[in-house]
């Protein structure tokens, strides 16, 4: 639970930090790809955690 919380907060923080540092002012599709792929990866991992951890 604590590890999952720390991981989730890190992902959320990355959504605020990375676009304003590493990807600031980008002119290609990098930022769109970053937001959509990071979210997709997080959602997939959170749902996997949900399925594994609940009801044990």
């Amino acid at each position: 639970m604590k590890a999952f919380t720390a991981y989730s907060v890190a992902v959320l923080a990355a959504m605020y930090i990375v676009p304003y540092t590493l990807l600031k002012g980008c002119r290609g599709v990098e930022l769109l790809a970053f937001y959509s792929l990071l979210s997709l990866a997080y959602i997939a991992s959170a749902l996997a955690y949900l399925w594994r951890s609940w009801g044990r």
Partner: protein
Amino acid sequence: MSKLIIGLGVLAAYIGLGTLLAVASRRMMKGRSDEELYVAGGRLGGLLSALTYAATTYSAFMIVGLVGFAYFTGAGALGFELAYLVATVFLLTLFAGKVWRMSRERRWVSPGEMLGDLYGSRRLALIVSTLFLVALIPYASAQLKGIGEAVAGLAGGSWEAYVLGVAFAALVIAAWTWVAGMWSVAVTDAFQGLWMLGAATGLLAWLLWWGYGFSAEKLGGAIALLGEEGLLGVGDGFWKLPIFIAFTAPWVFFAVTNPQVVQRLYVPRDEKALKKMILGFTVFGYIYTLMMVAIGLLAKGLTLQGALPQAKAIDQVTPTLLAMAPAWLSAVVFTSIVAAAVSTADSILLTLASCASRDIAPGRRWIGPLALALCLAAMTLVAMARIGFIVQLSVLSSVLLLPLAPVTIAAWAAPSRVKGAGAAAEAAILAGVAISFAAAAIYGAKKAFTALILGIPVSVWVLLSSTAIILLGLAFSKK
């Protein structure tokens, strides 16, 4: 056949089908107890739960507002909406199971009742439910106003068409809410959610075909133009970091502050259905968000290439697209805007009625229907006034509900520790509300949302103050 006739025909088909589904849902209802009326007796399946959660969450803001935001402000709009989704998945994964189990044991119906029970304070339930009424009636009125404006747009902007649109929407909301309470709301939400997803898919596919001929080369050209305009990055244009924080702070806590979605944690019939609800909502939300932002950016690409007229305002992007689309598609998307607004408004209405029934005047069976009628009348009258201030107030509502975030999360995380800390919870909520109102008085309701005090958005000050008070209160009550 004119666009108006096709539009009204599709709208009539949507209302007819929705009403049939609402009436059919009565067969699943077992009496009209509060539990049955407001939380479907806790017997909803996973798919229905997922679609009602999604349709309640995603209002007309998505197909009108988010498309417009992407068009005018670029890629930051995707980050803003996905930050909400990621935070919601996190909060649901962490707390939904626990909240669902407690709702079974303690027979919660309204979210105010939940907080009152966890903190051991009837007065807290009353304060929270009153706050819901104050904050959410303008938000629901803005949905009705949106429908009125859409209908008026079909008829050249006439006042009569606007009033007719609002009145008709109010009638549909009343019928679909009253027929079988949460059952009819959930079933029509599912229907409307699928309609919204289908309409968005159709609009995106048409845009790719009509505007780009499914050509990767043309898409590449549009991306290059968007990049040159600075719409593919953040930091320099609209989405400066404080603005991004101001926009996202209220929404990342939406799943714990908005009673219409909190109440949906009580409705799945078992843990399996609850898991399916979270999965279904997440998949819906991710796909729908990507489609809305893609539509906005693709439309902007066409404008930059001179193939689509420049939209004048954020809420004019979708109507500009619909003016170019085939009549049938325009009618389906127009109806999806109505569906998104109705599915959000009727869920809010039912939740507010449950708050009145359980927290404001508990034990009186007539109070629920009376509250339903009064809330709907208030929503309709406010919408009929057709003033821009409604939209500003609805924006403010997200900040007004924000102090509930630390109070609710503390209660969900440590239910045994918050018992007896009702006074601290009340102080945390009232302090946050006071800061919101003070900011609205100083900056205006709309600007309070993005105003910075010492470089920090008002919404963050609200969160910080409420969090500090509740933590201090808990520490003090423990001693």
